[in-house]
């Protein structure tokens, strides 16, 4: 019961702020609502007992990426953009695409409910007191099975860092 209340609380905040983020005209407001969505998602992660992802989400997404976004919003002059049309011309195309995706996923959910034995697995998750300590389990998996992807991710971050510095540098 408590699980359900927590889930619906955070899910409501996440979806509501995401809808506001897409529709607000001011980019700073969009960034604030995106931060609310990311924090609510972090709550969902905690409800799923993924403590390490929860902390990483808050430190890296909210503390790192969103600060970067807000810096760039302040560097870029937005007063011009405020007085212009918010949505691009392909608004109706977007509506059709979104409706098609919704219909597709809805049909998927509907049919899987009808057919027993097919579709999503109806498993019961492991009880909470049987789960290993989360950060420890993630670290073991990350540094043994997924060591090579981990190193490749570090190279990717190095490339992205160099790329961002070169891109944002003033031409001399």
């Amino acid at each position: 019961m408590l699980d359900r209340v927590i889930f619906y609380f955070f899910a409501g905040i996440a979806v509501g702020s995401a809808a506001l983020m897409v529709t607000r005209r001011n980019a700073v407001h969009s960034a604030i609502f995106l931060i609310a969505t990311l924090l609510a998602t972090a709550g969902i992660f905690l409800q799923l007992r993924a403590e390490f992802i929860f902390i990483v989400q808050i430190i890296l997404y909210v503390g790192g990426i969103m600060v970067l976004f807000i810096f760039v919003i302040m560097l870029v002059n937005l007063d011009v953009a405020l007085h212009q049309i918010k949505f691009a011309r392909q608004k109706w195309v977007a509506l059709v695409v979104a409706l098609a995706l919704t219909a597709e996923v809805g049909v998927l959910f509907w049919t899987t409910g009808k057919m027993p034995g097919q579709g999503f697995p109806i498993l019961t998750a492991a009880p909470v007191n049987r789960l290993p300590p989360n950060a420890e389990a993630v670290a073991k998996s990350l540094f043994s099975s997924y060591l090579l992807p981990f190193e490749i991710a570090s190279v990717l971050l190095l490339v992205a860092m160099i790329g961002a510095v070169v891109m944002a540098k003033k031409r001399t």
Partner: protein, 100 residues
Amino acid sequence: MLPVGHYLFLSMALFLLGVIGVITRRNVIVVLMSIELILNAVNINLVAFSRLYGDVAGQVFALFIIADAAAEAAVGLGIIIAFFRNRETVLADEMDLLKW
């Protein structure tokens, strides 16, 4: 844990809102933020199935996706700054140098 369908519905809703943002918004910064929303929706799926199967591999992949999102945001915002320096705009439909 709730049935996994709840998490899939939440993830689908966030994903669709992100897609709508990417397609409709004119401000490129908001488009980048919508992409972050999409990546976040994928993370919910990964962590939910990781919890369902009791396997931390899903959480490891969620970590990789977060690292990717950081790299993508850094490069994308660098491109936006470079573009703004040249053209004085952040609106997607005024970025038409390659269009004729």
